[in-house]
Subunit: 270 residues, 2 copies
DNA sequence: CGCGGAATTGAAGGGCTTCAATGGTGGTGG
DNA sequence: CCACCACCATTGAAGCCCTTCAATTCCGCG
């Protein structure tokens, strides 16, 4: 682990914050003055552990990380995957004791920012506070979609949904294109994220390959049938709040059924 | 549906915000000046629908609500339950298009607050912005715990965990005591929240009654074996960030296994 | 008192798990 | 540069948790 001052970290942060709001010059410069330290971490090391009371947040500059908890009998639930541009522990700014662990999946480069500085920054600049707040809200939106998948989708649909999400998130930070993206995680990681077993994930991937939906080898995912994958997983990108591109799925045709299809009414609906 | 000016609504809001932070007099008075309108809604009506772009937030004053989405074939996933004191659509303040519906489960009384007023309030008072932000972070913490349950726990454990959570949340706003609380939802609602079928929920409840863990009748839950329910569900209240009481489970004895129990290391751990 | 939603029960089946073993592969060191 | 060795991926068989389908009973409410 080394540490040094840095600027690219802050330009990545500013790009992130400006993805939704437009920052004033004063705000941008205030971010620019944030003190950061760069750290490089090996793969599969905890960044923050459950029960910790962090004094810093970390901005991922390179590599993948994940939130997770361990349960009895060694069961692990991965709660989220994090890629460059993410601030996975931003919440620790307002919730002192962290209720899950944060760990690297690959070798990771992070920028460390003191809570103190972020508190001062957001207190002085409401626009920045809103931008950071929004970032944690998007994080929750992804979490909701994971709950939907885990609760309602079959393993095949769930894996498809995860791949769609990760591809779009990676593309939005310039790390994917042409339906190809890095996928530097194991089948066991995917299993623990989806609440399934590695054995079953393996069988699902076999079938995806067999149906020529994807290829996945050498830590690289290629989606060969994007539209099909979207359809199978009922993927609607609205929750990611990304700018749309020509070949993207149209948020207006959200593949969810808003009709009354159960024998009991589906909670209200008008 | 009726509507009228109100003050009890704001006192409930202030109590909520002060549960963590301490507000200054100026902040408290600023909240006090928020314009609110009171509405009464029938049971099982949508408050906000997926795709809407709300211009107001709603503070629940009485009754229960839930977030949910509909999937193909009439499948429904409930994403959260909401009780008095909650602001289930606070996120709409910074995420324009809502990606799920919000509906009443019982007859509900809400206070409606314009986004405009909340934006002005949080822009002027960073402490209040932080308090509202924190509220959405706690919401996400509950969501994470639901994902853990759905991904890793058996139906029996999952139901137990839900009951523990709801009891503590209700008690924290004065709506429960002595291990008894209202539970005005159907077994189908529980099933859709847990990603299970009503039939199976019914069987789980049968067994819970048979083992004298709970009684559940007339929309009232009585937990007859609190400690046992905590143990079974590996319930750790840390994520709720509530003040502790004498008979509460101790956050320090979090029942999660932080040892290395898998044949592959559980992501890091130093 | 009768209606409709909710709860309950039984039987059969399916998606996924568990257990156990084998095959593959990338990274490291000699 | 190649060989070794964890770790990861893959495969098969048996079993279980939960689902599906279909009645039937219970219960709150007008």
């Amino acid at each position: 682990m080394n540490s040094a001052p840095d600027q690219p970290a802050l330009s990545m942060l500013i790009r992130k914050l400006e993805s939704a709001a437009t920052l004033s010059d004063a705000e941008r410069q205030a971010v620019w003055r944030l003190p950061t330290r760069i750290h490089t971490l090996d793969a599969r090391k905890n960044i923050v552990s459950e029960g910790d009371q962090p004094t810093h947040c970390c901005l991922i500059l390179d590599g993948w990380a994940c939130r997770y908890v361990m349960l009895r009998e060694g069961k692990r639930q991965i709660l989220s995957f994090h890629i460059p541009g993410d601030i996975p522990d931003l919440q620790s700014l307002h919730i002192p004791t962290i209720d899950h662990s944060l760990a690297t999946l690959t070798k990771v480069v992070v920028a460390i920012i003191p809570h103190e500085s972020l508190r001062e920054l957001t207190a002085r600049h409401p626009g920045l506070a809103a931008a950071f707040w929004r970032d944690t809200l998007l994080d929750a939106a992804v979490l909701r979609e994971w709950l939907i998948s885990t609760g309602q989708r079959l393993a095949f649909e769930h894996v498809a949904h995860l791949f769609c999400e990760l591809y779009l998130r990676l593309r939005s930070v310039g790390l994917a294109e042409d339906h190809r993206c890095p996928m530097p995680i194991t089948q066991t990681d995917i299993a623990d994220a989806l609440g399934l077993t590695p054995v079953h994930i393996n069988r699902v991937l076999q079938e995806m390959r067999g149906r020529t939906l994807i290829t996945l080898q050498g830590r690289m995912l290629v989606i060969k049938a994007w539209d099909e994958l979207l359809r199978i997983s009922e993927f609607d990108p609205t929750y990611l709040q990304l700018e749309r591109r020509p070949d993207d799925p149209t948020p207006t045709t959200r593949a969810r059924w808003n009709g009354q299809l159960r024998h009991q009414r589906p909670v209200g609906l008008r």
